[in-house]
Amino acid sequence: MARTGVIICHCGSNIASVVDVERVALAAGQMPGVTYAATNKYTCSISGQDMIKQAIAEHELDRLVIASCTPRMHETTFRKMLTKTSINPYMLEIANIREQCSWVHTDKEKATEKAIDLVHMAVAKVLKDQPLFTSSIPVHKKCLVVGGGIAGIQAALDVAEAGYEVTLVEREPSIGGKMVMLDKTFPTLDCSACISTPKMAEAGAHPNIRLMTSCEISAVTGYIGNFQVTIRQKPRYVNHDTCTGCGLCEEKCPTKVTNLFDQSLSKRKAIYKLFPQAVPAKPVIDSEHCTMLKSGKCGLCSKLCPLGCINFEDQEDFITETFGAIVLATGYDLIDWAKAYPEYGGGKYANVISGLQFERLVNASGPTEGHIQRPGDGAEPKTVVIVKCVGSRDPAKAKAYCSRACCMYAAKHAHQILEKIEGSKVYVFYIDVRTPGKGYEEFYDKTRADGAVYIRGRVSKIYEEGGKLICKGEDTLIGKQVAVEADMVVLETAMEPAHGSTETAATAGVSADKDGWLTEAHPKLRPVETQTAGVYLCGTAQGPKDIPDTVAQASAAAAKVLGLLAKDELETSPMISVVDAPKCSGCGFCEQVCPVKAISMVDVPSMYNGKRVTRTVAQVNSGLCSGCGACSAACRTGCIDLLGFTNKQILEEVDALWQE
């Protein structure tokens, strides 16, 4: 027989002034299974807790109902208290007779009756409580960072600096991402490479960081603290263990290929480093273009390499490792504006370029060594039109969202043109100017003071006429059509999630929104966590943002990772779902509704019609289950149940009304 103790709290006068607590205690004493019922002035106080402990010992109680304030207030307090008694902390139910009774009702008689009902429901439920035990899962103190842009580098460095091992996976042959392509950063105008390459080098040399370039993650299993990740190493055809990065191969390679790092504004070789400051500073072979790999002819690099590092037989390799935490920093791409905006020439005018192309043009290490020259003829443009929101805030053609960084880099581009080309004119077509950042508005003001002409309106058409690019649009402030003759047009295009990032995220159990940006666990309160515990995100993988925000978020993600890795073991809530496997039909309905992919279908030996068979049944991963109970409501048989809120417990609460 159960020996339930019921404590009715006065909460000073908070409860007792409305609810006749003595009457509630008297009624509770008559309820099935109740051995002891008493009131207490302040149950949560030390003396209140001592009184409960004493009652537990004296009356050999095996479960407890406390009628007091909301369980959201003191459930944890009382559970903690129970750890010091003979009662399991989960043999406790709280009847909320303060927030949901004494504070909201005035009729003392009715409030008392309601309190009795609420206590009754708790008493009925507690009779079906079972002792539950937290279990612990080990934490593998190693972090995986996916994406080697500034976000990934920052997160990796922060975690590594704290003393934990990090593996940084990058699909390109070098880390660096988009930031390293940029020339200057707004609003301070410090050289992007100057501040990002030291970080790259630091990451490359850090004893706790293992760089895995030309790599992608292909599979993730397991759960927080224990992710088994399979990493695919793409063939590089160059042995990076022996290569010193002398560059002889690259110098002599006869095959020239469009250089995508320079946004197609230059050529590179078929064996190449992504850019001069690449980390690792070692070349790889572009298998798509290498004549040796394509047709078996050439092999010059192999002949020249003094250390014999070239291996045309290189194969892809799969490496599986265990990580405690994963950070997704998969970054962004720019939209393909040529497809979305045929009215801007759709790519047929060489002098209509993207902002990122402009960054390469103006970059000292770019194809023009920093001289702004028209890609079409190499001439210096005197009049430049900058078009903002190309693809952003334009749901009809591309993206509905604001890409956040464009207003500022458009101002930066305008500034750079005005500064570098004497007598130049810059017209900026804009919808709005958004400058919410430290020093941003000031920078924008300065650019305008420098002479940039801001025209409010979208460009409706760009066409070539007499060697000039005519940009037509409406100046909505004066309500008139305007046409600007330009030598060059820079389109500040929208960001979109890096290609393949949603697939990578899905591998790690992270979902994306309709635009493909990865979904955080809570937009405000858990901005760097995801619905999959132990997987974090940062940078533009989560949504468009600029470098300061990206870096801040990367450090935030690192802080979360450190919070996890600092623990040797994770205590898991015991209030999770459990499967009664012999009853499970294996329909998988629970799996379909689980928000955290904690349920998987597994084959188990079983009996069926008296025969030994192998059947498929549901299995709950206790490390992943978040205890929502959606599975339980989806199960027709009721064979998957949520501990702490079992079907039986809830039915008992409902049935309790019958007691009078």
Binding site: S585, C587, Y608, T614, T616, T637, G638, T646, N647, L651
Partner: protein
């Protein structure tokens, strides 16, 4: 129909003889002219005992569960209703398509007490929707049979009349669970009614408990019912169960835009997924 019967016997004989299937589930004769019984042909010579006529009322699909753990392939005769039931059972993880050999039979409806069986009257899929081979030529489908006519009629009754209607009907229920056991969507290893410890459902046969069972079963299968009408056919008390099931089918179709159940073995079902743009009534 005798052509179909002859072809069926020939085909089953060969399939068994060739070892393509280990057993064939069809219909066999009874001592009564107007009744058939599910027949399991294990050997080529059993094929001659198979029957196909207008009295083949049983939906055979659930008998395939007898072979769910068998290493061999089982053959089964499938008309529209059986084929959808097989899809349902595959979708719900109870059968494996590769372990089944489906002999399709287009069907023009069966007879019950001398006239078209109630379960066939609203059929929209007389031709099997999945099969490995088809006996005979596809038949014309019934054009828009008024599936929801009876539901609409009851919907237009007053709340009180609806309550009285179902209470009167469930007063008849004897809790034999024939409806459940015949239903291809009721394919749980153990029914919720058997979970005595949880106590979902009292075993006592009274109108209330009977109707709790009736409504719960309807809800459990509502988004997966293939409208084969077996539950109603097997009910010894003649409770119009399809009038209940079709209500849910109708709502699932109109609320969530789901297609009819059992047209494919896709595991998705209306309550196993959601659309953020679903109807909002609870604001």
């Amino acid at each position: 129909m005798s052509d179909v019967q002859n072809t069926l016997r020939d085909r089953v004989r060969s399939l068994l003889a060739e070892g393509k299937i280990s057993c064939f589930i069809g219909w066999g004769p009874t001592r009564f002219k107007d009744r058939t019984i599910p027949k399991f042909a294990n050997k080529p010579e059993d094929a001659g005992e198979l029957v196909y006529n207008e009295h083949c009322l049983s939906n055979l699909a659930k008998y395939a569960l007898d072979f769910q753990f068998s290493a061999e392939v089982a053959g089964i005769a499938v008309r529209g209703c059986e084929s959808r039931a097989i899809n349902r059972l595959i979708a719900d993880g109870r059968l494996t398509r590769s372990k089944l050999y489906l002999v399709g039979i287009p069907c023009e409806g069966m007879l019950e007490n001398g006239s078209t069986a109630e379960k066939c009257a609203f059929c929209r899929h007389r031709n099997p929707v999945v099969y490995d081979e088809l006996i005979g030529e596809p038949v014309a489908e019934q054009e828009n049979p008024p599936r929801f006519e009876q539901v609409l009629e009851l919907e237009s009754a007053s709340s009180e009349d609806r309550y009285d209607f179902w209470q009167r009907e469930f007063a008849k229920c004897i809790r034999c669970y024939a409806c459940r056991n015949a239903c291809p969507a009721c394919n749980c290893m153990e029914c919720y009614t058997e979970q005595y410890r949880t106590g979902w459902q009292g075993k006592q046969a009274n109108t209330l408990e009977n109707s709790v069972f009736g409504f719960t079963r309807a809800y459990h299968i509502g988004d997966r019912c293939i409208e084969c009408g077996e539950c109603e056919r097997v009910c010894p008390m003649g409770i119009p169960l399809m009038k209940l099931n079709r209500k849910l089918v109708k709502d699932v179709e109109s609320l969530f835009g789901s297609e009819e159940s059992g047209l494919s073995d896709d595991a998705s079902h209306a309550l196993g997924c959601y659309d953020k743009e679903d109807l909002e009534e609870f604001m």
